[in-house]
């Protein structure tokens, strides 16, 4: 039975939770609000919260100046492409480690994770040179390759923990039931693995969508995704807060919508293994 919580305590905790939630969400809210202001109002002191002149002109200017759809298209190709390649490599790798582990499986897993411990900038120069010499700079293929490689450890870790949860006895039961190895995969393993693969897929799309370091350093125009689109509003002619905000809002909107609709699947995937 739950502990009895006094009304006062409950009210206080609810208020505190809302406050923390609001603080975390505030920068995004501010960005969205700013995207509807004029450049002047975006700078005004004291800042105007809700009572300003609402306008859509920033979105218009942003679309005029740079082709949003082209960047968005690149983002989709990059995130979906790198995720598909990642799943193609990650599923067999995680599968092998989960179902026929060897003495070194744990070391391999840790080694993979250790690659995420190095700051990406440490590998920038060699990778940049490799890209330059093989003509991969500003190409979608090259970028898909990089995004796939940097997220592969996470994909494998997630899938591994997921597959680990599938009890070996169920597979043995299917073997006793007369299933051939192929049918064992199709009828028993795959259906049990689908939720895990789906949430890994979703998380990886989000990670790849938001990845900025490599996309900014390895692209200029042709393969540039939305992260580069945002960045282009921060430097050359000074800072244009309202336009930068409008660009950012446009950049994150698709992925936020995707995340919102798939949140159940995502939460389940992320907490899987922690709670049964």
């Amino acid at each position: 039975m739950a502990r009895a919580v006094s009304v006062r305590r409950l009210t206080l905790m609810t208020a505190a939770a809302w406050l923390v939630g609001f603080l975390i969400f505030f920068p995004i809210l501010w960005m969205i609000l700013t995207s509807f202001k004029t450049e002047l109002e975006a700078f005004s002191t004291p800042p105007k919260f809700l009572f300003f002149h609402w306008t859509l002109e920033n979105f218009g200017i942003v679309q005029q100046r740079s082709n949003y759809l082209k960047f968005a298209g690149n983002s989709i190709i990059l995130s979906v492409g790198s995720t598909i390649v990642g799943i193609l490599f990650g599923v067999p790798a995680a599968w092998a480690m989960a179902f026929s582990p060897s003495k070194r499986t744990k070391d391999v897993l840790l080694w993979m994770l250790s690659t995420k411990m190095m700051p990406p900038v440490g590998a920038l120069i060699p990778i940049y040179l490799l890209f330059r010499d093989s003509g991969l700079l500003d190409s979608r293929i090259g970028l898909i390759g990089v995004e796939f490689l940097i997220n592969l450890p996470i994909i494998i870790w997630m899938l591994f923990t997921y597959f680990k949860e599938i009890p070996g006895e169920i597979l043995e039961a299917s073997r006793m039931d007369g299933a051939t190895p192929w049918r064992e995969i199709v009828y028993v393993l795959a259906p049990m693995a689908v939720p895990g693969v789906a949430s890994t897929l979703l998380l990886n799309v989000i990670l790849a969508w938001n990845e900025a370091f490599w996309t900014l350093n390895l692209t200029t125009t042709a393969a540039a995704p939305l992260t580069a689109f945002i960045a282009s509003y921060s430097s050359p002619e000074g800072l244009f807060w309202a336009k930068l905000s409008a660009a950012s809002t446009m950049a994150i909107a698709p992925i936020m919508v995707l995340g919102w609709f798939s949140q159940r699947q995502l939460v389940r995937g992320l907490t899987f293994g922690a709670v049964k």
């Binding site: 073997r175 006793m176 299933a179 049990m192």
Partner: protein
């Protein structure tokens, strides 16, 4: 009828680590055989070897005179029930029970009929369209059994199927499994560490200890004629009392040994090399130690366990581990009382210095009526 399983020199080792050195065993058609032993004795491994889920390092396994050592589990014609039920979580009860038939390529209509028949036998008809997670533990185990029976296997393998159930349900499922064997008369091999399950279900019990067979026999044979100290200590609850003692005299009427407290008892066994002065172990089951006005043993009561129908008295005897004696449920004895217990010499067991039992002059009446199988006779010294 089919389902005769023969193991010839079966060995299992993981690298240097030997689980089963070498086992020969014959399981007859329609027999209910229980593998019993402490955890880590290799009983589950032996079952998995028969199932084909593990490969034997050496030796042969035959089903109905066909060597199946290299046949994959799917084609051995056996069904297995796992301790964790191992149901397919994404399939309904109907899908779970019918999965084996589906793999065998049966038509939908045949599958439906067989699944419904099995469900009726197992009282699962109302749950056919539920998922395993919506069922209780007992129902899940019944689904696992249903999945095993629809395939009409040559033999059923049970790997500690009742260990995950609570006590009341375990007794009920034990009965259901006994009835199932009665009605199907298919060979069943059942692994358990629970000796009550072994005694109540088995036609034949195989007692295993560190990968070797200690004894094969009917439940009563193991109870009345254990071949060594291990079997004697393993079968029976509470455990048999052991007294380390010396032979006083060995003659045609039996072997006389000294008892703690100065008295002696003559056990009607063949001396088999026992000579006066030799070290032996005397074994007496609690149910054969009865409190009396005057008896061969005497000690102070340390603990009294009242089960209602029976009472167990734990006695402290000088220089001995606690001795358990069984008394009537109405026995008024209390802690710190001084009690005398009687020994019935005919129910005592004697074990030589190596732990082997000295054979009784007469076999127990009930054991005689249960003809020991050839296999059991082979293991009889």
């Amino acid at each position: 009828m089919t389902g005769k399983i023969v193991l010839k020199g079966v060995r299992k080792a993981f690298g240097e680590h030997v689980i089963i050195p070498s086992i020969d065993l014959e399981i007859n058609e329609g027999e209910f055989v229980v593998f019993v032993g402490p955890s880590g004795c290799g009983k589950s491994t032996l079952l998995r070897l028969i199932a084909g889920l593990e490969d034997a390092t050496a030796g042969k396994i035959e089903i109905d005179s066909v060597d199946i050592s290299d046949v994959p589990p799917a084609r051995r014609g056996l069904s297995m029930v796992f301790q964790s039920y191992a149901l397919y979580p994404h399939m309904s009860v109907r899908g779970n029970i019918g999965f084996g038939l589906r793999m065998a390529g049966e038509s939908k209509e045949v599958i439906r009929q067989k699944v419904e028949k099995a469900a009726a036998v197992l009282n699962l008809t109302a749950y056919l369209d539920r998922k395993p997670r919506q069922l209780s533990g007992g129902q899940r185990q019944r689904v696992a059994i249903g999945r095993a029976i629809v395939r009409e296997p040559k033999a059923f393998l049970f790997d500690e199927p009742l260990s995950n159930l609570d006590a009341a349900l375990r007794v009920q499922m034990r009965l259901e499994i006994a009835q199932l064997h009665e009605s199907l008369s298919t060979t069943m091999i059942y692994v358990t560490h629970d000796q009550v399950e072994a005694m109540t279900l088995a036609d034949k019990i195989v007692v295993l200890n560190s990968g070797t067979i200690e004894q094969v026999g009917t439940p009563l044979e193991l109870y009345h004629h254990p071949v060594n100290l291990f079997v004697a200590g393993f079968i029976g609850s509470p455990k048999m009392n052991f007294f380390e003692t010396e032979v006083v005299a060995a003659g045609s009427d039996g072997v006389t040994v000294a008892l703690p407290g100065g008295q002696a008892v003559t056990v009607p066994v063949l001396p088999d090399g026992a000579a006066p002065g030799g070290k032996v172990t005397l074994g007496v089951r609690p149910e054969h130690l009865r409190p009396a006005e005057a008896g061969e043993l005497a000690g102070d009561v340390v603990v009294v366990e009242r089960l209602g129908g029976d009472t167990f008295l734990y006695l402290r005897l000088p220089g001995q581990p606690l001795v358990v004696a069984q008394a009537e449920g109405s026995d008024p004895t209390r802690v710190r009382d001084h009690v005398h217990v009687r020994i019935d010499p005919a129910t005592c067991h004697l074990f030589d210095a190596k732990g082997r039992s000295l054979p009784h002059r007469q076999r127990h009446a009930l054991v005689q009526s249960f003809r020991p199988t050839d296999q059991a006779a082979k293991h009889w010294p």
